[in-house]
């Protein structure tokens, strides 16, 4: 039995969600149809929408169902830019943090390359925090030119949680809407859409025990946003396409379950994470934790996130050696054509390229146990020794 320590990539579906998807898959019905089967499907979709809204402090009408995080991020950025720059051509600047997921960064870069937008990057500190001061500085003295601010709720690599409500206040003080990619946060941290005061929020099903291929963009009724795809006019005309009723049901059931047991699960994961981190630091390899880690901290860092820097090692060597020893984890950063690239997040936080090459992300989730942590801590010394030898021959 492998120790699966890559829940931030995707986490196993909760049994209740599997059951809901299977049950709904057996039922015919297009939620846009007017007959009995259609109405039954629509009822399932709308009840799911209400449940998702309730779990996240949003109104049902604010839930736009999508295919997942990447689509939601693209709809938020491209849709807002299109709508707001059409209303006022000066508004073509995006203010975005340097540690966003590629679904945001690559979308922004595409918009800049195609001449539709300019970008102001918001720098982060050594912990990976976007401070209100840094955001204010990035907005500068020309807030009228900004179409949207986008800062993620919690980082997918190093787990740093942003002061989203404070950042929203800064954006709004300048009359600018704000989007947050909360893919890693929803189901793992208390997320209150209205409380945080953001205008747009991205979430996805498969990071919280729901199905793959379903997610949502929460958007206030006041959000100015243009659709990216056109068709049947579903989802407030913002996201056409027949709704995936079983997946939507699965997402709602998983989110309900994750939210219900949240406080207890956080305590459990923080304890596991801290034992894992402490165990790795206590080895004699000069291993450090990226960003800022405090024992017991469930608010500043994702409870399930342990991100380690192992000196004089290639992360991909460690990955292979740990996999061979039955421990599945990640370097946390993206590959380009299969070749690991140094993490843009770590580089933005001030780490050197050499330090970033030795990154290892262990992410815990609802199936994680003490045995998983033990397996990792048992496999780590051998993996580091071997990876160092391989590093030396490069």
């Amino acid at each position: 039995m492998n120790a699966y320590l890559d829940h931030a990539a995707t986490t196993p579906m909760l049994p209740a969600a599997i059951e809901a998807v299977a049950a709904q898959s057996a039922v015919v019905g297009n939620a846009s149809s007017l007959h009995t089967s259609g109405r039954a499907a629509r009822r399932v979709v709308e009840e799911s929408r209400e449940s998702i809204a309730a779990a996240l402090g949003a109104r049902p009408s604010e839930v736009i169902l999508t295919s997942g995080g990447t689509e939601s991020d693209n709809l938020a950025l491209q849709g807002t830019l299109a709508a707001r720059s059409a209303a006022d051509p000066r508004r073509r600047r995006l203010v975005v943090s340097t540690i966003e997921h590629h679904a945001v960064i690559d979308c922004v870069e595409h918009l800049v390359r195609s001449g539709r937008a300019e970008v102001s990057w918001v720098e982060v500190d050594r912990c990976g925090h976007v401070t209100p001061q840094a955001l204010t500085a990035a907005i500068g003295d020309d807030p009228e030119s900004v179409a949207l601010v986008s800062v993620m709720w919690a980082n997918n690599e190093v787990g740093t949680v942003q002061p989203v409500a404070e950042l929203a206040a800064v954006a709004h003080a300048h009359g600018i809407p704000i989007h947050t990619d909360a893919v890693q946060a929803v189901g793992h941290l208390p997320v209150d859409f209205a409380g945080a005061g953001v205008d747009l929020l991205t979430l996805t099903g498969h990071k919280l025990g729901g199905p793959l291929g379903v997610g949502a963009l929460l958007a206030t009724r006041a959000a100015e946003i243009s659709p990216l795809v056109f068709g049947g006019g579903q989802e407030r005309q913002l996201r056409s396409g027949t709704l995936d009723t079983p997946a939507v049901r699965g997402l709602a059931v998983a989110l309900e379950a994750a939210t219900a047991g949240l406080a207890e699960e956080q305590r459990r994961l923080v304890a596991l994470r801290d034992r894992l981190v402490r165990g790795a630091l206590d080895l004699d390899y000069g291993i450090t934790v990226s960003g800022c880690w405090q024992e017991g901290d469930a608010a500043g860092r994702l409870p399930g996130n342990a991100h380690l820097l192992v000196p004089d090692c290639e992360g991909d060597s460690l990955l292979y050696l740990l996999d061979a020893a039955g421990v599945e984890c990640s370097t946390g950063s993206a590959c380009q054509a299969g070749v690991p690239q140094p993490s843009h997040v770590l580089l933005a936080m001030g780490y050197s390229e050499a330090q970033a090459r030795g990154a290892l992300r262990l992410s815990l989730g609802h199936t994680s146990t003490d045995a998983d942590v033990d397996a990792f801590l048992a496999a780590l010394p051998g993996a580091v020794e071997r990876a160092r030898r391989a590093h030396g021959v490069r």
Binding site: A337, G338, V339, R386, A390, R394
Partner: protein
């Protein structure tokens, strides 16, 4: 054993990996990323290193149920193969980058990393055979399929590298390998063979070199020194080359003309008739031995090109500083310039061979066994009357 299967994305390395698995080894597939800019070399080159190739290799690995990794050796490849290729041409020599890649990348960078990570050996889809002797030493031999035999490009491997290498395809012909790939359900079964130099996308070596070395217009002369044409850089020519000379007038006697000499320092290309091309003595340096070093005057076979014919020869290894034992000095007076303190080799061919260019590799055979290889530093004609 724990074995890294180098998987290019082609049909050969796919079957090689499958055969290692069948033989009971623990196999991990590794694709070598040879370019740092995914957008240039890897998208457009043919035969290897494209994004599609990495994907093809991954598909095979997934089907075999083995782990698969992409290892980034782009920096080493650039330095040891691509830069070396450019420098060799700039010096008027004609290198074979595949030998270089085997020597420096596949059986060095890849093998070393594999060993450090706890693997025992590397397996590739080369067509060659390894024969293990009773005492455990290993010999490198030609493949059974003469049309696909790749022992030439492996002539740079030493005993230590051979001890850590597997070539599971050497006992099979290429059509049989394709049939086997089909049988195994590999999506790459019908994929065309790779040809040419993988890092030159369109196969136009001279244009590629011109981009890197710049245009250096100069003259093409005949053996009497008379100018018969012009060129854009002598470095782009190879002894024995006939095509691409673009001579304005045919020779008086109508005979085809070939490059017979390339003088990069003077930037002059000399052309002449075919009879000027034949050489029967070769000197080489950068010696690599796959087994015991031949002693005295050894009667061996010599092969000059990847799919060239093997010619009987008498081979003598000259220790550093040792003078030419025959006393028959190269008429040009330049027997190459091996690195000081390194042995060289003299290869006397039984008959004249055409188109031998400095920088090429001469690989030596004893029967089907590969003895070793040298990089040709000079070639000349010593004996009168041997057929060209």
């Amino acid at each position: 054993m724990r074995v890294v299967a180098a998987m290019s994305g082609g049909v050969d390395s796919a079957v090689a990996a499958a055969r290692m698995l069948d033989a009971g080894h623990e196999v991990v597939g590794v694709h070598l990323a040879l370019s740092q800019s995914a957008a240039t070399l890897r998208e457009s080159s043919r035969g290897c290193c494209t994004i599609e190739d990495a994907g093809d290799a991954r598909r095979v690995a997934d089907r075999l149920g083995i782990p698969f990794y992409v290892w980034d050796v782009a920096e080493r490849f650039r330095r040891d193969v691509v830069e070396d290729f450019v420098q060799e041409y700039a010096a008027g020599r004609t290198p074979n980058p595949c030998l270089r890649c085997n020597e420096k990348i596949k059986f060095a960078a890849l093998l070393d990393k594999a060993l450090a990570l706890g693997f025992d050996a590397v397996a590739t889809g080369h067509y060659a055979q390894i024969v293990e002797n009773a005492d455990g030493t290993r010999e490198l031999h030609r493949a059974v399929d003469p049309a696909k035999d790749q022992s030439y490009v492996l002539g740079v491997l030493d005993e230590d590298q051979l001890a850590r290498s597997f070539f599971p395809l050497g006992d099979t012909t290429k059509p049989e390998i394709r049939a086997e790939a089909q049988r195994r359900g590999f999506s790459v079964a019908a994929k065309p063979d790779s040809h040419d130099i993988c890092f030159i996308a369109d196969g136009d070596t001279r244009a590629w070199l011109t981009q890197r070395l710049g245009e250096r217009p100069g003259e093409i002369v005949d053996e009497s020194g008379q100018t018969v044409g012009s060129h854009s850089g002598a470095y782009g020519f190879t002894v024995g080359q006939r095509r691409g000379l673009h001579l304005p007038r045919p020779a008086a006697d109508g005979a085809p003309r070939y490059v017979v000499d390339v003088d990069v320092p003077r930037n002059v290309v000399t052309v002449g008739t075919a009879d000027l091309l034949g050489v029967d003595e070769i000197h080489g340096d950068h010696l690599r031995w796959c087994g015991p070093v031949p002693r005295g005057e050894a009667r061996l076979g010599a092969q000059i090109r990847a799919h060239g014919e093997e010619v009987p020869a008498v081979v003598r290894v000259l220790e550093a500083g040792q003078s030419d034992p025959t006393g028959a000095a190269d008429p040009t007076g330049a027997a190459g310039s091996p690195a000081a303190g390194e042995p060289t080799v003299q290869v006397r061919l039984e008959r004249r061979v055409r188109g031998v260019a400095p920088g090429q590799s001469v690989v030596l055979y004893d029967g089907t066994r590969v003895v070793g290889s040298a990089t040709i530093s000079s070639a000349s004609r010593q004996r009168i009357g041997s057929a060209s």
